[in-house]
Amino acid sequence: AQSVTQPDIHITVSEGASLELRCNYSYGATPYLFWYVQSPGQGLQLLLKYFSGDTLVQGIKGFEAEFKRSQSSFNLRKPSVHWSDAAEYFCAVGRTSNTGNQFYFGTGTSLTVIP
């Protein structure tokens, strides 16, 4: 069965510091992997996605993620965090079927940025 684990429920970083959010997945086939960000009271915005090819993917807002098949991981990184990055971050694995694209979300990581 498909599953996604985000081991860190909450992370606090200082503004300007680097960030890494962890994501591990369990999936039998080639995964489609996503990172979404959710600001308080808002919907989910796609940061980046991995389907195939280069294992280091670039996203919006200066984020990147690296797919490591051997570790079943898709960690999100940002070299320098801005106060506006404070939000909830969700990793998801997608499974495309004949009836659509089912997403399996991790439980999320809440990011606090301190001045």
Partner: protein, 117 residues
């Protein structure tokens, strides 16, 4: 800009009083999803429509129903809301793989925050 729109953004209802949440999209996607997201939790898929075909998740309570009168609109009906149904409800869309393009990702609306008194 093409987008997913949800109305209202905030909905207050009374215990047991039926409520309908609405979602519309200008992306012309043929798949539409409804998620329930409770505080500090991941979105939980309730059901989705593939064109007009309704696909219910096994653990979605019967209290939740959905309608999709056309490609652009989809409604979530809660027949008898309980206190436990207070949550954010997210609508999302995706393309059919046959349409080509980035069919694997889902596009989310801003959500409707439901309060049950």
């Amino acid at each position: 800009d093409a987008m997913v729109i949800q109305n209202p953004r905030y909905q207050v209802t009374q215990f047991g009083k039926p409520v309908t949440l609405s979602c519309s999209q200008t992306l012309n996607h043929n798949v539409m999803y409804w998620y329930q997201q409770k505080s500090s939790q991941a979105p939980k898929l309730l059901f989705h429509y593939y064109d007009k075909d309704f696909n219910n998740e096994a653990d979605t309570p019967d209290n939740f129903q959905s309608r999709r009168p056309n490609t652009s609109f989809c409604f979530l009906d809660i027949r008898s809301p309980g206190l436990g149904d207070a949550a954010m409800y997210l609508c999302a869309t995706s393309r059919d793989r046959r349409a080509g393009g980035p069919y694997n990702e889902q596009f989310f609306g801003p959500g409707t925050r439901l309060t049950v008194l």
